[in-house]
Amino acid sequence: MATRTVTVQRPAPMDAPQGVVRSGAAVLKGMWIASRHFWRNFWGFVRGKPTVFTVQYPEERLQQPPAFRGMPVLVQMENGKERCVACGLCEWACPTDCITIYPAETDDEIERYPRVFDIDMSRCMFCGLCEEACPEEAIVMSHRVEIAAFSRRGTVWHKEDLLVPLRELETTRFPHIRRTYESPAAE
């Protein structure tokens, strides 16, 4: 075993009289540390390369990594329709039961589609289990996160609101999906 125990080093006690001196020094040290941070940020500002950690939302937004799980959305194909065939797996897999689907028949070649597809975003916890369950890659976690609404009803997103063009998703979540769900076991 390569672990070992060490006893943490306690700083020397602050007894008088050196304690008084060290206390004074500590104040100066604190000021020194804080001013370092200040100058660092100030120079960044002057040079036009801000180092300030805070992001000024909504003017500024973070660039999210491909793995980012925002709200679940429905993939919209080129022809404007959803890819979902209302198989119900996501509805069943969802731990919070926040998806409601009513299937129906269409004349298209794939005979089934979701007449109703609602997600209650106030209950959704962005876990992504729906995406994993979907056998059609039709529901995916997007990079969208803005779900605030003024009423309880407003937090229920309907199919029309949930459709996101495949093109947008190709640049956000899909690289991650391709990588995780297809590899490594795929040949």
């Binding site: 198989c87 005979e111 056998p135």
Partner: protein
């Protein structure tokens, strides 16, 4: 009985059967597709193969008779391999349709692939193309690609309905299932083929793309549509019925039910249902509280009875009520000493198989409980005649399906002439609009109780749907009226009422609610 050894365990089974049913009876699960308990043996799917000591090759359990001392293995490597082979063959040409297939979740192909197959495919070949979504009858569609040619449906049409609509065409790997030319699958039992089809090849139009089966909650019940009393399962979700399916009861309906009964459920969760009691004010019916409505009924009954004449009160009830409810109605008639009491039934056609002419489930129950005109009382036609000629003060009609007995104009003329008409029904139409007091009733799916079928078998129904909060059940309405008329413990609790009823009527004696179980019991003589 003979003794056989299965997987090293000795069991006793009936001697005159095939191995497969014997094993199933003994609780040993052997996967199978083509065998069905109520159809002849086909032996085509090869899924039920087992190893029998002494025979060099595997045998199919569905077509191997049981022998004393037989030694069977259902889990040897050879058997497991053989099943894997069968599964792989079945799946190699199967369309990748599960996401859009109604059967998913109760599909034997899925179950056996998951439990006995490889779970990982070796092939990715393109699948054969056949006809999909083929309209083969008024209530059925066929997906030929999904069919595994087990021929259960073919045998059903040949042996049960004897209508022979379905057949397998072509030979070898070009075989397809289809209907005969110009012979749609339209018999009265056609939807049973969807139940027995182990895959999603035959689907009912009614349930097509409606709901995933795994959401369905299942409540055992009895079909209310005729006096045969077919055992069914009410499958419901979100307080709505999505389909009815037959439930096996060899004494009543084997594993079948008729299409009419299967499709007769939507009324139960219709949004037009009457949910609040109503009182007539002028020429309008207005919603009122339960107490007001019940008080009004009792008052009218009491007044009429006081005026000296139970003759001036008539009671009509439908045979859709349970034994327990009818028992309370009988008590009401007894308390008021009514003579004009009738439980008429609409009579249609029967077919000598399951469909019976009496179009209500508890027609026999009403007779057994003595709900009929007594002491010279009139039947339904006579009661309407009395009403028309102004000889009635109160007419209480429970369950307006009996309206179909006569033209609406006949009812109208009769009811218009009665000072107090009480109607207790699911809907305002057809009789409710003539009522002075209109009471909402519950459908069979919303209550528990018992029905007595035509062969005098008492069978239980259970509540599947929840009625709106506060709505009284029919039994509770009767109980409240009774409680206002006479002292007594009139609370309505089906099991307790059934116990009372059994004590009172000799034919029912010895029965108990719990013992009826899933399959019911026969009435005594």
């Amino acid at each position: 009985m003979v003794k056989i050894t299965v997987d090293g365990r000795e069991i006793e089974v009936a001697g005159d059967t095939m191995l497969l049913p014997a094993l199933i009876e003994a609780g040993i699960h052997v996967p199978h597709y083509c065998w069905h308990p109520k159809l002849s043996i086909d032996g085509s799917c090869r899924m039920c193969q087992v190893e029998v000591e002494g025979s060099p090759k595997l045998v199919i359990a569905c077509n191997t008779p049981v022998r004393e001392g037989m030694v069977v293995r259902t889990d040897s490597p050879r058997v497991i391999n053989a099943r894997r082979g069968v599964m792989e063959l079945l799946l190699v040409n199967h369309p990748i349709d599960c996401p859009i297939c109604d059967k998913a979740g109760e599909c034997l192909l899925q179950d056996y692939s998951y439990n006995f197959g490889t779970r990982q495919s070796r092939t990715e070949e393109p699948r054969r193309k056949l006809e999909k979504r083929k309209d083969i009858g008024p209530r059925m569609i066929l997906d030929q690609e999904r069919c595994i040619l087990c021929r259960r449906c073919v045998r059903f049409c040949r042996e049960i309905t004897k209508t022979n609509e379905l057949a397998v065409f072509n030979m070898g790997d070009r075989s397809v299932l289809d209907v005969l030319p110009d012979t749609p699958l339209a018999n009265d039992y056609s939807m049973n083929t969807a139940d027995i089809c182990p895959v999603g090849a035959l689907e009912t139009k009614d349930f097509h793309h409606k709901l995933r089966v795994w959401f369905l909650k299942k409540t055992p019940s009895v079909c209310p549509s005729c006096s045969n009393g077919c055992n069914i399962t009410i499958q419901h979700y979100r307080n709505q019925i999505w389909r009815l399916m037959p439930r096996r009861n060899d004494a009543v309906n084997d594993t079948w039910m008729c299409d009419h009964g299967r499709l007769n459920y939507a009324f139960a969760h219709d949004t037009e249902r009457l949910r609040l009691p109503m009182l007539r004010r002028g020429d309008k019916l207005e919603p009122c509280g339960w107490d007001d409505a019940v008080n009004r009924v009792t008052e009218a009954l009491r007044n009429a009875a006081k005026r000296g004449a139970p003759e001036r009160i008539a009671l009509l009830a439908s045979a859709h009520f349970t034994n327990e409810e009818l028992y309370l109605l009988g008590q009401l008639a007894r308390v008021l000493e009514l003579r004009h009491v009738d439980v008429p039934v609409v009579v249609g056609t029967g077919d000598g198989f399951l469909i019976q002419p009496e179009k209500a489930a508890n027609f026999t129950g009403a007779r057994e409980l003595g709900l009929a005109p007594r002491n010279g009382g009139r039947d339904v036609a006579g009661i309407l005649e009395l009403a028309r000629t102004g000889q009635l003060d109160v007419l209480y009609v429970c369950g307006a399906d009996i309206a179909r007995l006569f033209e609406t104009s006949v009812w109208q003329e009769a009811l218009r002439a009665v000072p107090t008409v009480v109607v207790q029904d699911l809907f305002t139409e057809p009789l409710g609009r003539f009522a002075h007091v209109l009471l909402p009733s519950l459908s069979w799916a919303e209550k528990s109780g018992t029905f007595t079928n035509r062969k005098r078998r008492v069978q239980q129904i259970h509540r599947a749907l929840d009625p709106p909060e506060g709505q009284l059940s029919d039994g509770e309405i009767f109980a409240r009226i009774l409680a206002q008329l006479v002292e007594g413990d009139w609370r309505f609790e089906p099991a307790a009422v059934f116990a009372k009823l059994c004590a009172e009527f000799p034919a029912f004696s010895g029965l108990s609610f719990t013992r009826l179980g899933l399959h019911g019991e026969q009435l005594g003589v």
